[in-house]
């Protein structure tokens, strides 16, 4: 998407109070306690070990650290993680 157009869409979303994840394809991250995490609109797994899962998202990456981490489910849009999550980093 063109940078100018992108800015315009962002402004429109902000003004009209539209859901940014749906319009701008931004990730929506939901955590239930520290044991479960759902990442919608992910762009794929970059690294998968039992202590670290690195996920590509629009405009960067996010890294989940923890113990006994596992991918409970993955498809085109959703990624559900389980395990003991100790920290989450987002890299823009």
């Amino acid at each position: 998407m063109d940078r100018g157009l992108n800015q315009m869409v962002k402004k429109l979303v902000g003004t009209m109070d539209l859901p940014a994840d749906a319009i701008l394809d931004l990730p929506r991250i939901t955590m239930i306690g520290t044991g479960e995490m759902l990442i919608e609109n992910h762009k794929g797994i970059e690294k998968y070990t039992s202590t670290e899962i690195r996920v590509r998202i629009k405009g960067g990456h996010m890294v989940v650290h923890g113990r006994r981490l596992a991918v409970r489910f993955i498809d085109r849009d959703d990624l559900k993680l389980e395990g003991v999550i100790t920290s989450v980093e987002v890299e823009a």
Partner: protein
């Protein structure tokens, strides 16, 4: 949860991904719209996950060009379970037979539940149902519910409503009884004469007396009618009640002869035996020499354990008798005849202890053979009995 259930229904396979670019392979599968669940990293170059059968079949095309091998390590879900069962013909046949038997058995009534009856006993209702062939084990197709309802209503006037329904193998019979607590209270009827007599006293409690002292009544005549007029002059129909005493007569007779025949043993006895083998009977000893005699017999049968053998010996004892005629005096004969007359009265319900001498008149007829004694008893008693009008 729903996803997992659906996956089980359509069937899934457990796959093993082996290679160097496992994350890239997973992304490619997921990016193609095929979900993977329970994805686990086993080693640096092995991952295990679950995927639907339909999606697995398309993996080869998707994975082309990648240095990852895909293999199946397990199969699960309904299609595999069904295939397993289908291979076991005996089990399948058993299942089908069981289902067929269950279906067949649900065509019968296995429980009958009767509710709502208080005055009418369960046994009575059950008996009426049984009379129509409705009992535990009867085929549902043979039951006409509407007919049963009507039958219950006609058989039991106490019921105001009857409902018969079938739920599965349970037949529910629900009845409702009329609200009236005592049917006798609201019955309409008269007090009628239980026997012929001459009325001596009438005490009506309810109803209109139709007889007065001095009236002669026949059995069945209305003594007190159920119809009456209440204090406001309104015509009412109720159950008549009251006492109607009347003089009633009972008659009976007894007969007795002037002679009596008695048997006297002469003191002569005779004994012989019979041997019985199966159907055959053999007499042992002389036949009985007396013209008139009494006889008695005693039988022995051999047994081994509890088993009776078809061999028996019977001892027959005969005693010679003479018949003698004894004279009976007129007084004795009269007493006997009188006794018989009283027995006849007792059969009509007259108790001798309650009759005083003044109420009894006696007559006698005699001829050369015997005597006849007649009795006429006059009693005063309540002759009223309730007879309902329909």
């Amino acid at each position: 949860m729903i996803t997992r259930l659906w996956a089980w229904l359509v069937g899934y396979v457990i796959i093993k991904l082996k290679g160097a670019q496992l994350e890239a392979a997973v992304n490619r599968i997921a990016g193609s719209g095929y979900g993977i669940w329970d994805l686990e990293r086993v080693t640096a170059n092995i991952m295990i996950g679950k995927i639907r059968i339909k999606h697995f079949k398309r993996l080869r095309r998707i994975m082309s060009g990648m240095n990852v091998r895909v293999g199946i390590v397990g199969r699960a879900g309904l299609p595999f379970a069904a295939a397993k069962v289908l291979k076991r013909k005996g089990l399948l046949l058993g299942l089908v037979l069981t289902a067929a038997l269950l279906y067949y058995l649900t065509g019968f009534i296995w429980m009958i539940d009767i509710t709502g009856s208080e005055q009418v006993s369960l046994a009575e209702i059950t008996a009426v149902l049984a009379g129509e062939g409705v009992r535990v084990g009867v085929a549902k197709a043979d039951i006409d519910l509407h007919r049963l309802e009507n039958l219950l209503l006609t058989q039991f006037p106490e019921l105001s409503w009857a409902g018969v329904s079938i739920k599965g193998v349970l037949m529910q019979v629900r009845v409702a009884e009329r609200a009236s607590p005592n049917l006798a209270e609201v019955r309409y009827g008269d007090v009628v004469a239980a026997q012929n007599g001459l009325v001596t006293q009438v005490v009506p409690f309810r109803g209109t007396p139709l007889v007065a002292p001095g009236s002669t009544v026949k059995k069945g005549d209305i003594l007190i009618a159920g119809e009456y007029y209440d204090q406001f002059g309104r015509r009412q129909q109720g159950s008549a009640e009251g006492i109607v005493r009347a003089r009633v007569w009972y008659d009976a007779f007894g007969e007795a002869a002037f002679s009596k025949i008695t048997e006297i043993q002469t003191g002569n006895y005779h004994v012989n035996y019979t041997l019985t083998i199966g159907k055959w009977t053999l007499r042992l000893g002389k036949p009985v020499p007396f013209v008139t005699h009494t006889a008695s017999a005693q039988t022995w049968q051999w047994r081994i354990g509890g088993l009776a053998l078809p061999v028996a010996v019977t001892k027959h004892s005969y005693a010679e008798v003479d018949y003698q005629t004894t004279k009976i005096s007129i007084e004795q004969a009269r007493a006997l005849a009188l006794e018989r007359a009283w027995q006849q009265l007792a059969a009509q319900g007259v108790e001798r202890d309650q009759v005083v001498e003044s109420q009894v008149s006696e007559y006698m007829i005699t001829d050369q053979d015997g005597i006849r004694v007649g009795l006429i008893v006059e009693l005063e008693q309540d002759i009223g009995e309730f007879a309902p009008r329909l």
